[in-house]
C-alpha cells in the first residue's frame, strides 16, 4: 500500500510540479501529495518521461517553428525515498536528460541534470464526517550536477540554477477511497552564469554573465481514487514565474523568461500482487492547456518502483 501511495507522489509531480521551460524539466520528487512512506522503509525505482511539443508560446503568441519542428525531451530518472519515520520522509532523484529537435540544424543536448533532495513532514490529521483531513509541509532543493549550458534554449537540458522550495499540502481522504488534494509551493531560484559577458532580456542589455532568475509559484489540485493496489487520479495545475521577460518575436527563448503553464493530467498506478508485491508500475499523461514562453507539451511517464522494508516487521 505504501508502495502504491509513493508512486502516486511521483506521477503527480510529473504532471504538476514541473518548472516548465520550453523543454520541461523533471523534478522527479513528489512532495506535493498526501502519501507518506512508513518508517524504516526504502522505496526506489526508475522513471522514464517523454515530453514533446511542436507548438510553443512566443510571449502570448502561439506558433510553430520550422527550425525546430517537434522538440522532444527524454528523461531517465533514478528515484529514492526513505521513511525516516512514519511522519518524515526524505527523497532524492537524479535525472539524465536528452533533448532533440526534429528539424533545423541545432544539435541535440544531453547530460545529467539536477540532483533533487526533499523532506516531507506530516503535520496533523483530523477526522471529519466525510473523511480524514491531513496537512503536510515539505522543503526541497535542486542542485545542478554538471555545468551544462542554460544558454541554448529550447535545447538546453535545464536552467542550471540552484533551487529551494517550500510547499504546503492539504488532503481529504474518504472512507470509500476517494480523495482530493491541494498543494502549493514557492520556489526560490539562484543566479545563473552564462558563458557570454552580456545578454539582452526584458528590454535591457545587461553587461554581466550573471542572470537573476525570477522565483516561481505553483499549485496543483487533484482528485481520484486510492485503495489497496490501485490509484487513479486527475489533476489541474498552474505554474507562474514571478518575473522575467517574454520571448520576443522570432527570438530564441532565454533562461530567465517568464515561463507559465496551465496543465491537466491523469495517472494510474498499480501494485503487483502476491510475491511481486514489492514491485509497482505506473503510467501518467499530462498536457499543457495554456502557456507563456513554454512549449505546448504532451508528457508521458512510465516507471517501475521497488519497496525494501528495513524495519524487520511484516509489510503492511
Amino acid at each position: 500500500m505504501a508502495t502504491l501511495r509513493l508512486l502516486a507522489r511521483l506521477t503527480l509531480v510529473l504532471s504538476a510540479y514541473v518548472l516548465l521551460p520550453i523543454v520541461p524539466i523533471v523534478h522527479a520528487q513528489t512532495v506535493d501529495d498526501q502519501i507518506m512512506i512508513e518508517g524504516k522503509t526504502l522505496f526506489t525505482g526508475y522513471l522514464f518521461t517523454y515530453d514533446t511539443w511542436d507548438e510553443y508560446w512566443e510571449g502570448p503568441l502561439k506558433r510553430d517553428n520550422g527550425n525546430i519542428g517537434t522538440l522532444t525531451m527524454r528523461t531517465s530518472a533514478w528515484y529514492v525515498n526513505y521513511g525516516v519515520t512514519d511522519r518524515l520522509n526524505v527523497m532524492a532523484t537524479l535525472p539524465y536528460v536528452r533533448t532533440r529537435a526534429s528539424q533545423g540544424v541545432l544539435r541535440e543536448m544531453q547530460g545529467l541534470q539536477d540532483f533533487g533532495v526533499a523532506a516531507k513532514y506530516k503535520l496533523f490529521s483530523v477526522p471529519s464526517p466525510i473523511g480524514v483531513l491531513s496537512t503536510f509541509a515539505a522543503g526541497s532543493a535542486g542542485l545542478p550536477m554538471t555545468d551544462y549550458t542554460p544558454d541554448f534554449y529550447p535545447l538546453s537540458i535545464g536552467s542550471n540554477s540552484r533551487r529551494a522550495s517550500g510547499r504546503f499540502t492539504v488532503n481529504l481522504h474518504t472512507k470509500p477511497g476517494f480523495f482530493v488534494t491541494g498543494s502549493s509551493a514557492y520556489t526560490w531560484r539562484g543566479d545563473v552564469t552564462l558563458d557570454r559577458p552580456y545578454y539582452f532580456t526584458d528590454g535591457q542589455l545587461f553587461l554581466t554573465s550573471e542572470v537573476d532568475m525570477p522565483n516561481v509559484f505553483d499549485y496543483t489540485l487533484s482528485g481520484g481514487y486510492l485503495r489497496r493496489g490501485l490509484m487513479a487520479s486527475v489533476s489541474y495545475s498552474q505554474q507562474r514565474t514571478l518575473g522575467g521577460g517574454d520571448i520576443r518575436r522570432q527570438d530564441m527563448p532565454f533562461v530567465s523568461n517568464r515561463m507559465n503553464a496551465d496543465r491537466i493530467g491523469g495517472m494510474v498506478m498499480w501494485a503487483l500482487p502476491k510475491k511481486l508485491r514489492f514491485l509497482s508500475v505506473q503510467g501518467a499523461y499530462s498536457y499543457t492547456l495554456r502557456g507563456r514562453n513554454v512549449g505546448q507539451t504532451s508528457t508521458v511517464t512510465g516507471g517501475v518502483m521497488y519497496t525494501l522494508p528495513l524495519h524487520g516487521r511484516p509489510t503492511r
Partner: protein
C-alpha cells in the same frame, strides 16, 4: 546585496540611471587643445560648420544663466545627482553603451509569413511588424561607425571653436557654482551638447522606433552638463546646434551610401546562385525553414570609410576550396568531428562569442572589449571619440569587405554540405566564406593594438578565440577563419595608416 548592487550598476538601460559611484571619471590629460587641427574624415574642416561667437561673460544675459545654475545646484534632486554621476564616466563611452543596447534590442530577423515568404523591415514604416531595423551584424557595424565617426568629427569642430573663443565654464566664472563634473576644455560650445546632439540625431535615423528613449537620454545628458556647472545654457545651445549640423552631413551620407539597396532582390539572389553553379560550385542556400533570403547580399557595395570600392575588390581574398575538392571534404570532416567531440571549454568559447539574436553583434562585442581599456587611458573626450571612430570605421570596412567576399563566392555552410552536421550555435543566414567574426575581430584587434600597444597580446588572444569559436560552433570551415583573419588584418591596416598621419598620433 553587493552582488545585487553590482547588477544594478551593470544594467544599462535607456531612461534608467545607473548608480555608478564606483565608475572612474574622465579626466583631462593634455586637453588636446589642437584637436581642431586633426584631420577630418567626412567634413572638409572645422569651419564647414559655423559657430557664432558667444556673448561676453560679463553680460546681463550670461549672469542670468549663472544665476539659474546656482539656483539649480542649490536644490539638486537625488535623480539629478545620479545623472551627473552617470555621465561623469564620459559622454562618448556612455553613448556607446546606449548604442549597444539599441542594437541588441533591434537584432531580430523578421518572422515568416504564413505563405513561407518573409516581410522586409521598412524604414518608412518602422513600427510595423517586422520592426525597422533588423540590426544584424552589417547593419550594426555601419550604425556603430556612423555614430562614432560623427561624434569624432563634431568634437573636432567643437574643439576648434572652444579654443578659438576660450569661454570659461560657469564653475570657473562664478565661485558660487560648484564643478560637479571636471572641466577639461573651454566651455563654448559644450562638448556634452555636441555629443548628445549629433548622437541623438543619428540614433533617431538608425533606430527610429526608439525616438522617445533617445530624446529623453540626450536631454538628460545636457541637463547633467548644466547642473554640474560645466556648461551654461548658451554653451549648450551652441553645442546642440553644432552637433545637429554635423548629424545632417552624416544623415545625407547615410542616405546615399548604398545601404538602401543592400538587400538585393529575388532576381539578384537567384543570379548569385546561378553564378556559383556556373563555376561548378555548390551554391549557398538558406538552411532555415521556410528558406530565408540571404542577409544583405549587396552590403559589399556599401560605402566604406577608409577603403575605396577599388580597394575593397583589390583586398578581396581568392576563392575558397572548391565544394567538390578533397580539401573541402577534409575541412568539412574537421568541422563535423569538432562539433561531435566538443569539450565544455570549446562550447563556452563558442557561446561567449555567439553574438547572435538580440546581441550587440560582433562589432558591439569589440566595443565592449575596448571600453575598459579606453577608459583607463584618461583620454580627453575628443581623443576618446577618435578611438571609437577608428575602431568602428575598421569594423564597418570589415563588414563591407567580408560581405563582398561572401557574396562573390556564395559558398555553402558546413551543415548544407553535410545535413547530418548539427551546430552548437544558431546558423547565420548567409554564405560561409569568409568568417565575419574572424574578419571583424582581426580588423578590430589591429586597430586596438595600435591604440593601446601594451595590450596587443590580449587583443590578439581575444581575436584568435573569436575566430576559432566559429569552428567550435560548427558553422565555419577552417579556411573561412584563417582567410578571414588575414583579410581583417589588412583591412585594419588601412585605418591604422590613416591614424598615424591624422595629427593626433602622439608617437
Amino acid at each position: 546585496m553587493t552582488r545585487m548592487l553590482a547588477r544594478v550598476i551593470g544594467a544599462v538601460s535607456i531612461g534608467m540611471l545607473a548608480l555608478s559611484s564606483a565608475s572612474p571619471r574622465l579626466t583631462a590629460q593634455g586637453g588636446d587643445a589642437n584637436a581642431g587641427d586633426w584631420r577630418m574624415i567626412v567634413l572638409t574642416g572645422p569651419t564647414q560648420i559655423a559657430v557664432p561667437p558667444p556673448g561676453q561673460t560679463g553680460s546681463v544675459d550670461y549672469q542670468a544663466e549663472l544665476t539659474a545654475i546656482r539656483n539649480a545646484q542649490n536644490r539638486l534632486t537625488k535623480a539629478q545627482r545620479a545623472s551627473i554621476d552617470y555621465w561623469s564616466r564620459g559622454s562618448v563611452i556612455r553613448w556607446n553603451e546606449i548604442l549597444m543596447e539599441l542594437v541588441a534590442n533591434s537584432d531580430l530577423p523578421p518572422a515568416p509569413n504564413p505563405d513561407g515568404s518573409y516581410p522586409a523591415p521598412d524604414a518608412n514604416n518602422p513600427f510595423a511588424d517586422p520592426r525597422f531595423p533588423f540590426a544584424n551584424p552589417p547593419y550594426a557595424a555601419r550604425a556603430y561607425s556612423y555614430v562614432s565617426v560623427a561624434q569624432y568629427e563634431a568634437l573636432k569642430v567643437a574643439w576648434y571653436y572652444k579654443y578659438l573663443y576660450n569661454r570659461p565654464a560657469p564653475s570657473q566664472v562664478d565661485q558660487g557654482i560648484r564643478a560637479l563634473l571636471p572641466v577639461n576644455a573651454p566651455a563654448y560650445p559644450s562638448e556634452d551638447a555636441v555629443v548628445s546632439g549629433v548622437t541623438a540625431e543619428l540614433l533617431k535615423l538608425l533606430f527610429p522606433t526608439e525616438v522617445e528613449k533617445i530624446t529623453l537620454k540626450a536631454g538628460e545628458h545636457r541637463q547633467a552638463a548644466l547642473l554640474s556647472g560645466r556648461a551654461s545654457s548658451t554653451d549648450l545651445a551652441a553645442g546642440l546646434a553644432l552637433g545637429q549640423a554635423v548629424a545632417a552631413v552624416f544623415t545625407a551620407r547615410a542616405g546615399t551610401d548604398g545601404m538602401r539597396t543592400a538587400g538585393g532582390s529575388p532576381a539578384l539572389w537567384q543570379a548569385l546562385a546561378d553564378a556559383a553553379s556556373a563555376r561548378g560550385e555548390v551554391p549557398w542556400h538558406s538552411m532555415e525553414t521556410p528558406p530565408r533570403p540571404p542577409m544583405l547580399p549587396v552590403f559589399g557595395s556599401v560605402r566604406a570609410w577608409m577603403m575605396t570600392p577599388a580597394e575593397i575588390i583589390q583586398e578581396r581574398p581568392g576563392p575558397p576550396p572548391s565544394t567538390s575538392s578533397p580539401l573541402m571534404a577534409q575541412e568539412l570532416a574537421e568541422v563535423k568531428n569538432t562539433v561531435k567531440n566538443l569539450t565544455r571549454e570549446e562550447l563556452a568559447i563558442a557561446l561567449k562569442w555567439s553574438d547572435g539574436l538580440s546581441s550587440p553583434t560582433p562589432p558591439g562585442h569589440w566595443n565592449f572589449i575596448a571600453a575598459p581599456y579606453f577608459q583607463k587611458t584618461g583620454w580627453s573626450e575628443v581623443r576618446m571619440a577618435r578611438a571609437y571612430a577608428l575602431l568602428n570605421m575598421t569594423m564597418h570596412d570589415a563588414a563591407v569587405a567580408c560581405w563582398d567576399t561572401k557574396f562573390t563566392y556564395f559558398n555553402p555552410r558546413p551543415s548544407q554540405l553535410d545535413p547530418e552536421l548539427k551546430t552548437a550555435l544558431g546558423l547565420p543566414n548567409f554564405p560561409s566564406y569568409t568568417s565575419g567574426h574572424s574578419t571583424f575581430s582581426s580588423a578590430a584587434a589591429e586597430v586596438l593594438s595600435y591604440l593601446i600597444p601594451g595590450e596587443a597580446a590580449y587583443f590578439r588572444a581575444q581575436m584568435e578565440e573569436a575566430a576559432i569559436s566559429r569552428l567550435y560552433g560548427g558553422i565555419h570551415y577552417r579556411s573561412d577563419i584563417e582567410v578571414g583573419k588575414d583579410h581583417g588584418a589588412r583591412i585594419g591596416g588601412y585605418t591604422v595608416r590613416f591614424a598615424r598621419l591624422d595629427g593626433a598620433d602622439g608617437r
